[in-house]
């Protein structure tokens, strides 16, 4: 920032390092207004409607009931879908981590800026495309006589087309594709916080690069791995479009089941399932906070 720019802010930098003009910074109560407006928005639009859903999940035709929760926790249809959802989320999270970690590491430690730009660009460009377009693309690729099957048959890896579409595998591939940039970007920013001198120090002390990575870089990146995996895991728990378009009726995910119940006017059941999912997310976040600390605020 040039000197002129700083001057135009009257040189007043507040505690958060954000330049603000005197008149705005000194207006009493303004910061409360600024904080309360979004808070109000969240309370009205989110909390109130959530309370409505919560009420619906406990209230049947004859008043208070636990029937909906009993049903979703005992009937195989619902428990299977829940397990399937958790399984898919775990697979997607691990796949994202395995793909994003090396890419993020290479981009952060690349000596030439062009390497970093190529890696980051390669991962981010799909991110700017419509999610629907990407999911349809996977549909076309994985069709019975799609590109993938034709390739496999051409190289005689298989003689008959394999059923890719409408499997958990197809959903996982597509969700990994969509969630990879999130994992990559936050891993990258976490890794940037790891001092490169530490690896250099290990090198001077006699550690081969691989040994230095295992002893120094990897342990220091663990908090980032936890936080970012958790984020991707939570995002994939509630995924809707990819499973809707790529999944068969037999291996659905929670969000699809909720949607079906909504459409067939089983709103109470849908409400109970929504809360089930919400509680699972809260429990996971709670455990993470307890053991890893506040992982969403990076320690610098």
């Amino acid at each position: 920032m040039s000197k002129e720019n700083i001057k135009s802010f009257s040189g007043d930098i507040n505690a958060h390092g954000v330049p603000a003009s005197h008149r705005i910074a000194k207006a009493t109560g303004l910061k409360w207004v600024i904080m309360l407006l979004p808070l109000l928005f969240v309370v009205v639009s989110l909390i109130i409607s959530l309370l409505g859903i919560l009420k619906r999940s406990f209230v049947g035709t004859d008043g208070f009931t636990l029937d909906y929760y009993v049903k979703i926790l005992t009937e195989p249809l619902y428990t299977t879908v829940l397990l399937n959802t958790l399984k898919t989320a775990v697979i997607v999270t691990i796949a994202c981590l395995l793909l994003a970690y090396p890419a993020a590491y290479l981009s952060v430690r690349a000596k030439k800026p062009i390497v970093r730009r190529l890696i980051t660009g390669g991962i981010l460009i799909p991110y700017w495309m419509s999610m629907l377009v990407r999911i349809f693309a996977w549909q076309i690729i994985m069709q019975t006589n799609g590109v993938l099957n034709q390739l496999l048959m051409f190289f005689h890896i298989t003689d008959e087309p394999i059923q890719f579409l409408y499997t958990t595998g197809a959903v996982c591939v597509s969700m990994t594709h969509i969630l990879l940039p999130y994992m990559f970007l936050s891993l990258q920013s976490n890794m940037e916080g790891i001092d490169e001198n530490l690896s250099t120090a290990a090198l001077v002390m006699g550690a081969r690069p691989a040994r230095g990575f295992v002893d120094v870089f990897l342990p220091l990146s663990v908090p980032g791995i936890f936080a970012d995996s958790l984020m991707v895991f939570v995002l994939s728990l509630g995924f809707y479009i990819a499973p809707a378009l790529l999944d068969g009726a037999n291996n659905q995910m929670m969000s699809n089941l909720i949607e079906q119940n909504m459409n067939s006017f089983n709103t109470n059941l849908a409400a109970a399932m929504s809360f089930e999912l919400l509680v699972i997310v809260f429990v996971i976040l709670g455990i993470a906070f307890k053991f890893v600390g506040n992982i969403f605020v990076p320690k610098r």
């Binding site: 120090a201 002893d215 342990p219």
Partner: protein, 385 residues
């Protein structure tokens, strides 16, 4: 105590980044157990040189010998060098003890040996009682002691210090200066330190190499650097100095020194300059006389003295144990002079004062013109009988 240090010799090392030449045929040498400082401002190439010695970067040409062995082909992790980083580079997820033990673990030492050596070194750097702490629970000075312990625990023959005291506040810096020097002396590790802090360089080093623009300007003992700067850059870089333009009128070799008579703007008379016989003399007329402010004295009794001149006070600053005084000479050039408080209070009121300096306190500096090869006087000058 025995010396674990080995000699290091750098010969004609050059380094290019694209078309930019960071190092230009740099050569230097340090004997086992000596403390050598590479002093220069940022961009002088000093850090590049350190990186090449450590093995993080490869030189484009030239050789590096540690204990007579060319290490150019050795990777950084094969060179067995100790290094203290500017920001310490302590592993934040390891305790003090684990940090210090890490290089020993890499060397596959037995557990008992690791425990013993870590204990010894922790005592040496006075970190007793801090073993189980994490780096962030240490103060800046303690972090540095820990980093130093980790750098020397495996008895490296060569220790590199990268701006070792840069991150410490002033009091701590003085303390650590002596600590590092004490430990380095005790163990006899050959040490190369890179810094831009001239005080640090003067107090710690056996030898100082002043670098600028990828070239070593002068490489000698702190005393020589300070008292006999080789060129204008060195004279101005280290401490305060007055540079006086002059023309050499005559030069002769006497029994124990070179004597030059120099015409300057200070006085009508010629200035007499005496320099030791081993100092290289050039057969050039234009010269700069380097004169430290503390070597210019106020002439209290107005008696004749060689190299005396009259000047008036322009400005003065009280520094506690002396006054730093700016004086204006006959040809209105300004000189910096140190005057004791008593003398200053006694004479400051006078309009003009008389100063003198001894003939052996001045150093002649012959500036190298572009493309001109300087010929030493010995080539042509016939010594006086």
């Amino acid at each position: 105590m025995s010396t674990i240090g080995q000699s290091i010799k750098i010969e004609n090392v050059s380094k290019f980044y694209g078309s930019f030449q960071a190092l230009d045929t740099v050569s230097l040498e340090a004997a086992p157990g000596k403390f050598l400082t590479i002093l220069g401002s940022s961009g002088s190439g000093k850090t590049t040189l350190l990186k090449i010695i450590a093995g993080f970067e490869a030189a484009n040409s030239g050789q590096i010998f540690i204990n007579g062995e060319d290490v150019a082909r050795k990777k950084a992790y094969e060179r067995n060098i100790g290094m203290l980083f500017q920001n310490y580079a302590l592993f934040p997820h390891m305790t003090v003890e684990e940090n210090i033990a890490y290089p020993l673990k890499l060397r596959k030492c037995s557990k008992a040996e690791i425990g013993e050596r870590v204990n010894d070194i922790i005592k040496l750097v006075k970190l007793d009682g801090m073993e189980k702490r994490l780096p962030k629970q240490l103060s800046g000075g303690q972090q540095q002691r820990c980093a130093l312990a980790r750098a020397i625990v495996y008895n490296p023959p060569l220790l590199l210090l990268d701006e070792p005291l840069g991150a410490l506040d002033k009091n701590l810096r003085h303390e650590m200066q002596f600590e590092i020097k004490r430990i380095q002396n005790e163990l006899g590790i050959t040490t190369i330190s890179v810094t831009h802090d001239q005080e640090e360089a003067l107090t710690m080093s056996d030898k100082i190499c002043i670098m600028s623009h990828g070239v070593i300007q002068q490489c000698s003992s702190p005393e020589e650097i300070y008292e006999e700067p080789k060129n204008q850059f060195v004279a101005e870089f280290i401490g305060n100095t007055n540079l006086i333009k002059g023309v050499v009128e005559s030069k002769k070799k006497e029994s124990d020194c070179w004597v030059s008579m120099v015409k300057t703007g200070l006085t009508e008379e010629l200035i007499r300059v005496e320099e030791p016989l081993d100092r290289r003399q050039y057969n050039l007329d234009d010269v700069l006389l380097a004169l430290r402010p503390e070597l210019i004295h106020l002439m209290k009794e107005r008696e004749g003295h060689i190299n005396s001149f009259r000047a008036s006070i322009v400005n003065s600053v009280y520094m506690g144990d002396y006054y730093r005084v700016l004086v204006k000479t006959r040809d209105s050039s300004e000189l910096s002079v140190k005057i004791s408080p008593e003398a200053y209070r006694k004479y400051a009121g006078e309009k003009e004062l008389e100063f003198f300096f001894n003939a052996n306190c001045v150093t002649t500096i012959y500036e190298k013109e572009k493309g001109v090869i300087l010929k030493t006087v010995e080539d042509r000058f016939i010594p006086a009988a």
